[in-house]
Symmetry: C2
Subunit: 397 residues, 2 copies
């Protein structure tokens, strides 16, 4: 996750999955957004999402040779469209769906599709995003020293002429704000990274209908281990190039993961469509919204117990999905130490809480990004330690 | 499969998976090595390989935070080592295992690992392989115009000084021969692509113990749809960089596919270990060897029925796994039209058989590569049409 270097040096790690108890002195890793906080919902679903594979199934590379995206399982295509129609967060009619090994692969597929084949002798296309930007964009854009594209930094500072690609992350990772493009020049191409545009994180105000929209199973449902993402792509030629990228990069996408995602997205849609008041089943987004609301409330209580940290407030907006006015409860908290010179991540690290420093996002070290989607036990231990930290006498350097 | 362009223009395609009947005028696509020919074995295994996933499983990005390859399922690591020990095709003791989304991703991970971090100002590292080479290497090496590495063609023709990476594909794809490195200069690094070094294709003469060895689930068992490959890597620092590549490229590898691969590799090993003569169970490699032997016999019969095509003979060698002398039965046939000027692929295309032309492999158009691992129905239709083609009067241009 282009940030695990730090995570991997931790000697005493948090037990995952079925381990409930965490040693009270364990290091809590909130550096990455591992969405295990949604696990209780999936346990509650019992066998509704169970899927079985027999030995002879899904042997072929191909899922649908009639589809331009020949490695996309047809039923996954259907369930993706169905869920977007139910949630109302993205237009799907007339769009091509490209499935990827998580949205990371699709970010690269989009970079490739929008920069290749124009002019072989031209300089690499600039990749920009407004700071604070998703910390992986620079790494992803630069790690292979591609001659097709190159990271060009904060979109607010971009003043070059010529072609560029702007990633618009909305809601923003790390800061949770709703974003729009900022460069707006003639030769720009936009990629909307909508990983967090789901009702548990923010109000769904309108279906987005931009040229390329990226989504990921990880952030929608919490199934990060499946590595499934999808792109909704307006232009067929662009979609074709994205498919070509995935063909060259990994010859398609795991069938098992696609079929499991199909099942799980279907269960979510079924849950949302049940309007029967007598039904005991809580739909996934209601569960997620409640979880995130409670966590943000706890976090805000700790933050306001002292004058040392700042947490932005989000506007209250009408959500077309929940039919109610709601505040955003982002998947990450973007926290600032009031004393500007402070290395905020070091303060948390001293209390065995790993966060991601603001410098990684094109911001400064007085900021940290903290995952809000970890397991309950981890989140509660984080809140406890944060409260203890707040109660300590504050030493100005 | 960096060769599906041709495949995708086919309007009337072969029904996949559970469809048994193929229209007699259907186009037979043997351009790629879709290993569906092993499906009958997996059907025969009944529920021995069945695996079930519940909704709450495998949510996390992480599989084992104590492992450098943090996204590798520990039990897959175990079953990979167990199978190599049973088959005797590769040394595993002291090796690091890196799992990938198919071996395509690992090929790129190896290119990245062996070319990055040396000297930022240096020219891209040359990537070479002896012709006829795997047709995807040039595409994979060049598609992102990386500044780290660059395709430099046939290893036999390589005479530059400085660092280079040689891919040694053994048994070779496309021609099935056993290969060794050919450049052998001081600054060379080797990657052994051993996708087809399994008993159904060739004699296992010794366990390979080279620096980086690549394997893929697709070619070992036929489960191409799962997109699972693995690398055995001697040097820990190289393995770390390969892990970094996969982290940046796709944040790990599908857990569902890994766990299914674990189950299936385990069933294969169990089958091999059963030496009980009363057991009715045929082990997978015996089944595969019989299948490939029969197919090659049919193909050779057709080839020798006329004087138009040439098919190489392979040496008979002692196989340590089967404890017998066997000939190679490669996953692809590398067929040559005797009339050198002929476009061999066009001859087959005219008979609705798609093959991959020799030019894609750094060879000439008098060669074609033909998949030998398709479904029975496809293979039999191919043999039938090939026989008809052989019986036609031969028109010299």
């Amino acid at each position: 996750m282009c940030g695990t270097d730090q995570a991997l040096v931790v000697k005493r790690t948090i037990p995952r999955e079925d381990d409930i108890s965490i040693p009270s002195d364990a290091v809590i890793n909130l550096d990455h957004g591992d969405p295990t906080g949604f696990e209780p919902y999936w346990r509650m679903m019992g066998n509704k999402c169970t899927i079985t594979f027999e030995g002879h199934q899904s042997l072929s590379y191909f899922s649908d040779m009639k589809n331009m995206c020949w490695f996309l399982e047809p039923k996954l295509d259907e369930e993706i469209r169905r869920l977007h129609n139910i949630v109302g967060n993205a237009m799907v009619d007339g769009y091509n769906i490209v499935v990827g090994t998580g949205s990371s692969q699709l970010i690269q597929a989009a970079m490739y599709a929008l920069s290749s084949g124009v002019d072989d002798s031209s300089a690499p296309t600039s990749i920009v995003s407004a700071a604070p930007y998703y910390s992986c964009y620079p790494d992803i854009a630069n790690f292979l020293k591609s001659g097709l594209y190159k990271w060009a930094g904060d979109a607010h500072m971009f003043d070059k002429d010529g072609p560029y690609i702007e990633f618009v992350t909305s809601p923003s990772n790390p800061d949770g704000t709703i974003r729009d493009s900022v460069v707006n020049k003639a030769q720009g191409k936009l990629v909307h990274d909508l990983a967090y545009y789901w009702p548990q994180y923010t109000s769904i105000t309108a279906p987005v209908n931009s040229d390329i929209m990226l989504f990921t199973f990880s952030k929608c449902t919490g199934h990060a281990g499946s590595r499934i993402g999808w792109a909704l792509v307006k232009d067929k030629e662009v979609a074709k190039k994205m498919v070509k990228f995935i063909e060259l990069n990994s010859i398609g996408v795991s069938k098992e993961s696609q079929l499991r995602a199909t099942k799980i997205l279907g269960v979510i849609s079924d849950g949302c469509e049940k309007t029967d008041a007598s039904s005991e089943m809580v739909n996934f987004f209601e569960f997620g919204q409640e979880l995130m609301t409670q966590r943000w409330e706890k976090l805000r209580n700790v933050v306001k117990s002292n004058d040392r940290f700042i947490l932005a407030k989000y506007p209250i907006q009408y959500c077309n999905f929940t039919k109610d006015f709601t505040e955003s409860h982002p998947g990450f908290a973007w926290l600032k130490c009031k004393a500007n010179e402070e290395d905020c991540s070091a303060i948390f690290r001293a209390h065995k809480i790993l966060t991601r420093t603001g410098t990684r996002f094109g911001s400064d070290p007085s900021f940290v990004r903290i995952s809000m989607v970890s397991k309950d036990e981890e989140f509660n231990l984080f809140i406890k330690r944060f409260q203890e930290l707040q109660e300590l006498p504050y030493q100005v350097k």
